[in-house]
Symmetry: C3
Subunit: 279 residues, 3 copies
């Protein structure tokens, strides 16, 4: 109980810091969901910059409060920008959020992420369980950029164990999106069980979580763990509220409603709907 009150207070601070800092977030991301990522960052109180030319990366990162790297449509040009951006972010001391979309699926993605992780200290890795499991190596259950069938059967305890290991290997927070989202820094763990499976029938709900993290961490450099919980929780809560009003499988309306909610939700409503367990 005490812990719960404490978490609420901490989340409130996270929210206030976003408002105070209006974090500038540098995103090197994919061209599929980039518009939604920019809009959700604005809705969440941040200010997005999308720039991917290696020629300007240094200047862009230098003025930003965080960096989001999403490898959704990675190519031989952008991978270089991602690494350079990460290195500068490390020098500047700003948080780096990595979304290793499709890790384990292709050599380009796997090698690319491995290279990023070998050269860049990331603050948070956010992925689905197949991607996170892949980071432990030896995982061959791939299903494109989605979760593989066998991975769908993992329990929340399994997921935590995997996430904890990855967290320790890379000394970072790991956020696994799943039926129950698992956020751990290797010691602490929070389970977030909001949202609805139908959200995965919209492209980019995963990318948008990374985008939210860019804002919440960019404004909260001194409390990255709680910042991660706030960002991941925000998507779950807003997605859950939006799906509740949905009568038919109207997915474009659902996406609009999620984005609308992120920009208009009151903190009290967020807390009320947020469903979490803190160990």
């Amino acid at each position: 109980m005490e812990k719960k009150i404490q978490l609420k207070d901490e989340l409130k601070k996270i929210k206030e810091n976003i408002e105070k800092n209006k974090p500038l977030v540098h995103n090197i991301t994919n061209y599929v969901t980039v518009n939604d990522c920019a809009n959700i960052q604005l809705a969440f109180g941040g200010s997005p910059i999308m720039a991917d030319s290696v020629l300007e990366i240094e200047e862009v990162v230098s003025v930003c409060n965080s960096l989001v790297i999403n490898i959704g449509t990675i190519n031989e040009r952008t991978i270089k920008s991602m690494i350079k951006a990460g290195e500068i972010a490390n020098i500047k001391g700003i948080p780096v959020i990595l979304d290793p979309v499709g890790y384990g699926f292709t050599k380009l993605r796997t090698d690319g992420v491995d290279e990023i992780l070998s050269k860049v200290k990331v603050s948070v890795i956010k992925g689905n369980i197949s991607e996170i499991k892949g980071l432990l190596k030896g995982n061959n259950n791939i299903n494109g950029v989605d979760v593989s069938t066998t991975d769908k059967e993992l329990t929340v305890e399994d997921i935590f164990e995997i996430a904890k290991k990855v967290s320790k290997i890379h000394s970072c927070i790991v956020a696994v999106t799943s039926k129950v989202d698992v956020v751990t820094d290797g010691e602490r763990v929070v389970y977030l069980s909001n949202g609805n499976r139908i959200m995965s029938d919209i492209t980019g709900t995963g990318c948008m979580i990374g985008a939210l993290l860019g804002v919440s961490l960019g404004g909260n450099r001194d409390n990255l763990f709680m910042g991660t919980i706030y960002g991941v929780g925000m998507m779950g809560v807003c997605g859950e509220i939006a799906t509740k009003t949905m009568k038919k499988r109207e997915l474009s309306t659902l996406k609009n409603n999620i984005l609308d909610k992120v920009g208009s939700i009151k903190f009290e409503e967020f807390l009320e709907v947020l469903n979490y367990e803190y160990e």
Copy 2:
């Protein structure tokens, strides 16, 4: 009459196969309409992957059930990926859908498509009549990526004749989007007359048909002709229903309503609205 009943039964199988297979579709497409293409594939029961680096094409195509190539914003880098993807798709035996956006408009587009068609066996070419006519060569009536004025005056019989020729040249199904959509495999032909002209005031309605074909053909490798009719018909039907509720020229709402409808339409409603002639 008998043919009509048969077509309905066949379309039902197409629909059931999509549900059963949840086809994974690899898309190499343009950055203008890519988000809508991904979302309409999800709404339609498929699972989209967008990846265009030549370094990962082989692995991506290998796990997919179909490949959609759309040259909307083609460049010197992506054309190579398109050709390689097509070649792998042929080896794996999965359907290839080609949308030759702006064929005949620029040398890059014309040569690019010619090269694709010389190296890749495509299952369906989907385009507007100017593009399809261009494939017969000698067509100089271009209007950017839209249909030229003189081509707008072609009758549905003219369109069928042109489509049939292109179909025979490339041994593939040809789907021409027009006031009346014409789908032919060189022998059979189906005329689909749903939709509404105002749909062309939304960017990407054409691209989205290609995206739908990726799903319907990906789940129905043994009945590509009927799969094409289902995909083309779905856009016309959903567009028609969405425009009917439109009172003002509110195009963003119209786009949302089309996407909503693709994700929520019942098969019975689809059949009821579908307006077709089968020769």
Copy 3:
């Protein structure tokens, strides 16, 4: 008063010319807001083409009525296409609209725009005050791609003085978007005070003004000044109407409503809401 009546008559002609010409607009723009830019051009009565390969630029520009260059996600490849497109546009005599997103922010952007301006005669430069001020050189107040804090304190008179200078240096119309939008050709000036600050919480409202200009100037080569006022005014008016019906900070709905309004507004309503001063 007389001037006001005259302006209304001129704007009416601008509108009628768009309808008559349905201008074909070539856009080399960023991948963040490109879909909204294409859709707003269609809504506004234009016909967008997005193409950025240097291999087809010449053919594309040649059939178009205007060219919009937006450097939002510029890179080493696209800068070359932008310059070539501008040069061809000059030869063909079609208007060039330049949106120097983030000018002064990075060397790539500053040098890129400087090179464009040294090789291409542009018709309109549209930017926020930090970007326009940057074009006078010696401005170091940068805040990524947004307006810097000190620049926010400039008066409308300051803004006009800066815009006038830039206009004279580059012999072009300058449109500065701000609380009050300032449009000047170096001699005449029009102040437009529609819109609402919350519009900047949607990505791309600035880019969409450039997109609108592509349409209005493409259809009105003989009256670029009034064409600019119509394009800039349209965004302000539609944004203002859309925000008035907004009860909560629902930004996705707001964006949809703006796009809906651009496609459905009656000219009389536009004039009624348009708030301007003409010196």
